[in-house]
């Protein structure tokens, strides 16, 4: 996994709550058996006016100029700013892959859905939960000035904006450690392979119907 330490960027203001993973990447693109190439279909139903299919040349499609992702002033944003319960719905990890593949590295929202959050951590996308009032403030700033910049510092667990306001955020120690170092969780788990085998041996005695 790619490590994450800090980033300074403008923000994409996606002023919606309950942005579900069907909206982040619609079903037809889940037919892919790869992990890459989903960026061009991020927010597909909002971003294009015509329907799309996997594998077509999406540059030929009719884009929706009103959708915030298509506005030139937000083209360089690497942080998505959204409302509560971001990433709800389907467990599709394609949602995280498409956000990363497009070039975003952080999502800021008041809250995130549980499965989306675990998917973020496995791929090096940082979900940052801030208070409602802080998210309101950031929307106000970005709406007034699309080039408004923030620095997201994982080590310090803080966001500092260009006016020097700073907001702290919480993250599990373990998740932070994995993100900062880009660790692969499977490797970490396999360090406990003996414990897993011991557990299975016990299980064979206590609950033989579960394991042969």
């Amino acid at each position: 996994m790619k490590a994450f330490t800090e980033i300074t960027s403008s923000l994409l203001p996606l002023d919606r709550s309950n942005v579900d993973t069907d909206a982040i990447i619609p079903q037809q693109y889940l037919k892919s058996v790869k992990r890459t190439g989903f960026g061009v279909n991020l927010f597909d139903n909002w971003r294009y006016q015509d329907p799309g299919v996997l594998g077509q040349d999406h540059s030929q499609r009719k884009s929706n100029p009103d959708f915030v992702l298509n506005k030139p002033e937000f083209r360089n944003a690497k942080i998505i700013l959204a409302r509560e319960n971001f990433g709800c719905g389907s467990s599709r990890e394609h949602a995280v892959w498409s956000i990363l593949d497009y070039g975003f590295e952080v999502v800021i929202a008041p809250s995130f859905a549980d499965i989306f959050c675990s998917n973020c951590y496995k791929n090096g996308l940082l979900p940052v939960a801030l208070k409602d009032s802080e998210v309101d403030y950031l929307f106000e700033q970005v709406n007034a000035n699309p080039a408004f910049m923030c620095k997201v510092d994982l080590n310090e667990q803080s966001i500092i904006d260009e006016k020097n306001n700073s907001f702290a955020f919480q993250i599990d120690e373990f998740r932070k450690y994995c993100l900062l170092n880009g660790y692969d969780e499977i490797d970490l788990t396999l360090q406990h392979a003996n414990k897993i085998k011991e557990y299975e041996d016990k299980l064979k005695h206590s609950s033989p119907w579960l394991i042969k």
């Binding site: 919606r16 709550s17 309950n18 579900d20 069907d22 909206a23 619609p26 079903q27 037809q28 889940l30 037919k31 892919s32 058996v33 790869k34 992990r35 139903n45 329907p51 996997l54 594998g55 509560e84 319960n85 709800c88 719905g89 389907s90 467990s91 599709r92 990890e93 995280v96 809250s111 995130f112 859905a113 549980d114 499965i115 675990s118 998917n119 496995k122 791929n123 599990d172 120690e173 373990f174 969780e185 499977i186 970490l188 788990t189 396999l190 406990h192 392979a193 414990k195 897993i196 557990y199 299975e200 299980l203 609950s207 033989p208 119907w209 579960l210 394991i211 042969k212």
Partner: protein, 460 residues
């Protein structure tokens, strides 16, 4: 801690290792695999040259992407075919138990797991699919995972996670005639909101829940995720044990007796502590219909779409092509879909069939389809003659799969089309770009099909 919740009990019996900060290595008993969220996980395993930890924990089937029309010629869509073939190949390469497309046991993972006895009480069950919460109806701890976690389970038989909070949803009373498990769970989501149970494992309890069959309990747990709860659980009772008995993967002989003795302990102890408790009275419930683009946007069938709306609700009404304040019963439909892991079991098909017996689809209904949850459900329904009832009314009778629940195959809504659906998500574009979904129970969907608009099935 002496008084434990059901969740405490199942969680604690699966802890392999716990770090000081609470991050836990949790053992996984059953891993259900389907074609959409697994190819990248198998590929990851190969690239890292890792072994698969325990292949007998896995049961695989293709469900999301399979055609529901005649299958004898295979899958026409090349891209869908590649995905299904990839699953077949992975199952072959790793010698996994799989029900291929033409096997009568094939179906939606969340229907076949319990049907086969592959999902059992007290198990930890995962699948790369958010509706894995369904299996909690058997007193299991079951939840959806992403593809990286699928790979993690393939490689280690464990997941790294922290214990969540625990919410008790108590539903007491007796459901009025025409009110089903689907209506109970939609009402719960309406009350809690789609993020109301985020960070929680939900336990559903109370007399109205205990009165439900396992099928009904699965409908409830299936939609825990639509309230934000990653897992939903229901205590084991005689109904559970009767359901599990004599299924192909269920234990037999002395192991059955051992298992039953253990399963009987799978309920929350008196006085066990929950982080949150909510109460609902089943006596007051009406059949439910969603009117918006989130399952929390739901109303009683005899009520109206709200007239005082916020920005999100306004946007939802525009997408749905509805005016604020319109009566739910005035909403006219184009299509009807009976199926999905929420409502495609035999009991659901019986309920729908009983409403349409000797009736015909309304003229404005362009398409009505029934997609059984598995080949075995389909077989059972045909033995009972339900397929004839549906066909006589004008419904299409299809092969099992996810179908129009998410429109990955050809079963989709066109822009602007309005559908009464027994599935679980009414998100924008869920059933096809621009499609408009109203979530209802099977009986309500069937009633809407013959009237062409929503009607209160409890008054029919």
């Amino acid at each position: 801690m002496t008084n434990k919740t059901l969740y405490d009990k199942v969680w604690q019996s699966h802890v392999v290792h716990e770090r000081d900060d609470g991050m836990t290595l949790l053992y996984i008993d059953r891993h259900l695999v389907h074609e959409v969220t697994s190819p990248q996980a198998f590929e990851g395993l190969r690239l890292a040259k890792r072994n698969l930890w325990r292949k007998d924990s896995i049961l695989a089937t293709a469900d999301h992407n399979v055609p529901t029309t005649d299958r004898s010629m295979g899958i026409e869509d090349v891209i869908s075919k590649t995905q299904v073939d990839t699953l077949d190949q992975n199952c072959k390469d790793f010698s996994l138990t799989q029900f291929p497309m033409l096997d009568v046991r094939q179906g939606i993972v969340h229907v076949i797991g319990p049907e086969q006895g592959a999902s059992l009480p007290g198990m930890t069950i995962v699948c790369g699919d958010s509706h894995t919460s369904t299996h909690g109806a058997l007193g299991a701890l079951a939840f959806g995972i992403g593809t990286s976690e699928v790979e993690h389970v393939l490689a280690t038989q464990c997941l790294l996670m922290k214990k969540s909070k625990n919410m008790l949803v108590n539903v007491n009373g007796v459901c009025p005639v025409g009110v089903t498990a689907k209506d109970i769970v939609l009402a719960i989501i309406g009350k809690l909101g789609t993020a109301g149970a985020t960070g929680h494992t939900m336990e559903f309890a109370g007399s109205a829940i205990q009165a439900l069959s396992i099928e009904g309990r699965m409908t409830i747990c299936n939609m825990a995720i639509e309230a934000g709860g990653r897992a939903g659980m229901i205590a084991v009772d005689d109904t559970t044990i009767d359901y599990v008995a004599n299924r192909p993967f269920s234990p037999t002989g002395i192991e059955w007796d051992q298992a039953v003795a253990y399963w009987k302990t799978l309920h929350s102890d008196e006085g066990a502590k929950f982080d949150t408790t909510i109460e609902l009275n089943a006596n007051d419930l009406k059949p439910q219909v969603t009117w918006g683009t989130s399952p929390e946007m739901v109303a009683d069938v005899n009520a109206k779409v709200p007239s005082d709306v916020n920005d999100d609700q306004q946007r939802a009404l525009e997408y749905m092509g509805l005016k604020p304040g319109v009566a739910i019963e005035e909403i006219k439909l184009d299509k009807v879909f009976i199926g999905s892991c929420t409502n495609s079991r035999i009991e659901d098909l019986r309920a729908a069939a009983s409403v349409i017996q000797d009736k015909k689809l309304a003229e404005n209904i362009k398409l009505a389809m029934v997609v059984p949850g598995s080949g075995l459900v389909k077989q059972q329904a045909e033995q009972e003659g339900l397929d004839e009832v549906f066909k006589a009314a004008g419904f299409e009778w299809r092969e099992p799969g996810c179908s129009m629940c998410l429109g990955m195959n050809d079963d989709q809504l066109k822009p602007g089309e309005r559908c009464a659906s027994t599935s679980n998500r009414n998100f924008e574009g869920r059933q096809g770009k621009g499609g408009r979904t109203h979530l209802v129970s099977p009986a309500m969907a069937a009633a809407a099909a013959v009237h062409g608009h929503f009607v209160d099935v409890s008054r029919m």
